[in-house]
């Protein structure tokens, strides 16, 4: 392979590094600011992100499907990708059956709140997380001893087993699924359909006529009413969970555990020799990833539709999740979030392509993979390694070409 290194390699790396470098630039610039400015910046970004479905920015807003609903889906995918990033990106375990955990979380919530109980959502949520985590440990314990590539097919198998079991066990609703899963409790006066919409207060959404904004009071969001009419409160709830998980992810990545994952991923044997109990840490990554998938599933179950069925958890969804993490940049939490958001958002934004949606999506995946093999936002270490590699190549070639280094 070494003989195939061509002169353009040095220049070729450039487009790949652009996004990542800019991102680094942004992070660095941010880090240089005083604490107060940083806090204000964060607050501003947070407000913008929370208000996104109300602001409905012209180009971004989906035309033929409710934007709030799309943003909910985007946040759900981002959360799933964040969880799967722990498994694939940090610990280096290819999991093709992640949808199984998503389903476990959704079904635990469904069973506790609707099928066999009438628990409130927020009580069922922690149970769903714990149950999914236990599922992760049960599935991980035997399978994680299997070598890397074999793990892919075994996890895929488990994803299918979970789906088939759910489909055939009457106690879980079988193929009919679970209906009428209660929404999270409304905060403030409850709605009384069909006319009284309840809520503490109303927030109008912005309407755009070209680039001129106006306020649309007719389709206002009723603050923290979790009903069937408006997806925005669910989006807020999920976004809050996403932010909490993000903080947790940051803490754990920077800890001993994060370093152990990294060591295991790079060279399992070496890590083991250095005294890292790799199996324990792999299992931990698997269980943590599962728990986050379960969390996302729980939100999905009690979302706007309040209906889950085995058909909502096809094998294909696992592939999409993996694609999200890898396209975004496996190992970088922001990359995973971006990947998750893109995978959920793009097909909805381009609904007008109707029939061609999946074709374009497939092509886009391939083109992205070929164009940016490290993902859109590769982790900093990957970019550094690439940069060093390119530099060495350029230096080697420099003797013949007179400095191609860009």
């Amino acid at each position: 392979m070494a003989t195939q290194t061509q002169p353009p390699v040095g220049t070729w790396r450039n487009p790949l590094a652009v996004i990542g470098d800019k991102w680094d630039g942004v992070v660095n610039a941010y880090n240089r600011q005083p604490l107060l400015v940083r806090a204000l910046l964060i607050a501003l970004v947070l407000v913008l992100v929370y208000a996104l479905p109300l602001l409905r920015p012209p180009v971004l807003t989906t035309q033929n499907i409710d934007f709030g609903g799309v943003m909910f889906r985007v946040a759900a995918f981002a959360l799933v990708a964040l969880g799967l990033n722990i498994v694939i990106g940090y610990a280096g375990l290819l999991d093709l059956g992640y949808v199984g955990f998503y389903a476990t979380g959704a079904y635990t919530t469904g069973v506790l709140t609707a099928q066999h109980g009438s628990w409130p959502f927020f009580l069922a949520l922690p149970i769903a997380i714990v149950v999914t985590m236990i599922t992760g440990v049960i599935l991980g314990a035997p399978t994680l001893r299997v070598r890397g590539d074999y793990l892919a097919i075994v996890t895929l198998g488990f994803g299918e087993i979970i789906r088939i079991c759910v489909k055939n066990i009457e106690w879980l609703g079988a193929s009919a699924g679970i209906k009428d899963i209660p929404h999270p409790n409304t905060i403030g006066p409850a709605a009384n359909p069909p006319f009284d919409k309840g809520g503490l207060f109303e927030i109008p959404r912005v309407q755009w006529d070209g680039l001129t904004p106006s306020l649309d009071y007719d389709h206002a969001t009723h603050f923290l009413v979790f009903g069937a009419l408006d997806a925005i409160p669910y989006y807020w709830l999920l976004l809050t969970a996403l932010i909490l998980v993000l903080i947790g992810d940051r803490l754990i990545k920077a800890s001993r555990v994060g370093r152990a994952w990294e060591a295991t991923r790079e060279d399992e044997d070496a890590a083991e020799l250095m005294g890292v109990p790799t199996f324990k840490y792999k299992l931990m990554a698997f269980a943590l990833g599962a728990a986050i998938g379960g969390l996302s599933g729980a939100f999905y179950a009690s979302g706007q539709g309040g209906y889950i069925s085995p058909d909502s958890f096809p094998l294909l969804l696992s592939m999409l999740f993996v694609a999200a993490v890898i396209v975004g940049g496996s190992g970088n939490r922001w990359g995973a979030i971006a990947g998750g958001a893109l995978v959920a958002y793009l097909p909805e934004r381009f609904r007008e392509f109707a029939d061609y949606r999946l074709l374009v999506f497939g092509l886009a995946l391939t083109v992205l993979a070929v164009w940016k093999p490290d993902g859109l936002l590769p982790p900093r270490r990957v970019r550094r390694a690439k940069a060093a590699e390119a530099e060495i190549d350029a230096l080697e070639l420099g003797e013949d070409d007179g400095g191609v280094k860009a």
């Binding site: 033929n64 409710d66 709030g68 799309v70 539709g305």
Partner: protein, 376 residues
């Protein structure tokens, strides 16, 4: 910041006033015209929505429904130049995951007064609450799951008999007319299929010899064929869609099964014969809660007639002078009439009161769509 908000408010207020004035003008015109012209209802110029699969693997079924709806709208618009109604299509790809977002879009679109759909049972269950809470009347041409109308959604209707009625009729046909003593029931594990096959199983009673379940997309039926043969069944009922039904019928015949093959409306499609092959399909009985389309009917395909009828109910409501969702819903609830798919009236749950079940036969290598037999 503050200034821009203010100007926004002013804008909004202005717009509001303008809208009020406009609508006031409109309604005063209406009051004068209503009785004499026999209808320029406030719903004229607005839209009917369709929610269902238009692309994806079940897209062909949704296209059939849209054909039926568009035919009805075209007939109406040609007759009533002053009251044109258009269709807005929302493509769920048949998935309950896509449907809620689309439903929210529909209920937030003020130009939409009613919905033909949702196409399938899963998406109906996932969106029923949204439509109910928004007070948007809907008529489904094809969602047959029994439990949908048990949810208390008073705006939800369907112009097709539910799986209960069809399953009972099918079981009665097999044990009565065919005289089967041992019936083997197979389904594909989907909600619709399991529901239908379940009713058949219950209604068969002692005549049920055994049952099995395959999965969608499966093509290897050899285990089922063997199970049918060793059970000694003289009839097989399959709950599911035509692709798997065709494969099962074909492999049963090739495996030496001589009895009657029967399936429900999901399999009532000419493609069933293509998949099964002439010999595999010969003698198969396919039931459907819909009669044949009258000759010269301008839309083809399964569910096209139901979609046409559903649309016509909305149009009749407009002609009757219904001016909002509530009035329209009331009109639909008390509607009685004859559609191309049969007589239509709704019970208080939203189910169609009287639904005839027809049996279609495969004769000399073709699905005879013109001469079904009423079996219930």
């Amino acid at each position: 910041m503050i200034r821009s908000t203010k100007s926004l408010r002013t804008l909004a207020a202005l717009a509001g006033v303008a809208a009020l004035t406009l609508s006031a003008c409109g309604s005063s015109d209406d009051d004068g015209d209503k009785k004499s012209a026999g209808g320029a209802s406030e719903l004229c110029g607005k839209n009917l929505a369709f929610l269902g699969a238009l692309t994806g693997d079940a897209g062909a079924l949704g296209q059939n429904m849209v054909n039926g709806i568009e035919l009805a709208l075209k007939e109406h618009n040609d007759k009533n130049a002053d009251c044109k109604i258009s269709l807005k299509k929302f493509d769920s790809q048949g998935s309950p995951d896509n449907a809620p977002g689309l439903a929210t879009q529909i209920v937030n679109d003020d130009s939409i007064f009613g919905l033909v759909g949702p196409g399938f049972s899963g998406e109906s269950l996932a969106t029923g609450k949204t439509f109910f809470e928004a007070g948007l009347p809907s008529i489904s041409p094809s969602a047959t799951n029994v439990t949908i109308t048990d949810q208390g959604w008073t705006t939800w209707h369907r112009v097709i008999g539910n799986d209960d009625a069809q399953g009972k009729a099918d079981a009665g046909y097999l044990t009565g007319k065919v005289g089967a003593k041992k019936v083997f029931v197979v389904d594909d594990g989907q909600d619709y299929s399991k529901g239908l096959a379940g009713t058949v199983k219950d209604a068969l009673g002692d005549a049920l010899v055994d049952s099995d379940q395959i999965s969608v997309g499966d093509t290897n039926m050899s285990a089922v064929v063997q199970a049918v043969k060793s059970s000694g069944a003289d009839a097989v009922f399959y709950g599911g869609y035509y692709t798997e039904a065709g494969l099962l019928a074909k492999q049963l015949r090739q495996g030496g099964f001589k009895g009657t093959f029967m399936s429900g409306d999901g399999s009532e499609d000419p493609n069933f014969v293509k998949v099964a092959g002439k010999e595999g399909a010969e003698g198969a009985v396919l039931s459907a809660p819909a009669g044949p389309a009258p000759s010269g009917f301008g839309a083809t395909g399964l569910y096209a007639t139901q979609a046409y009828d559903a649309t016509n109910i909305f149009l009749a409501g407009i002609e009757d002078g219904a001016s909002n969702g509530e009035e329209l819903n009331k009109f639909i609830g008390s509607y009685t009439g004859d559609g191309v798919s049969g007589p239509i009236a709704f019970d208080d749950k939203g189910d169609i009161k009287e639904s005839k079940i027809y049996a279609y036969f495969v004769k000399s290598g073709e699905l005879d769509v013109a001469n079904p037999e009423v079996i219930e």
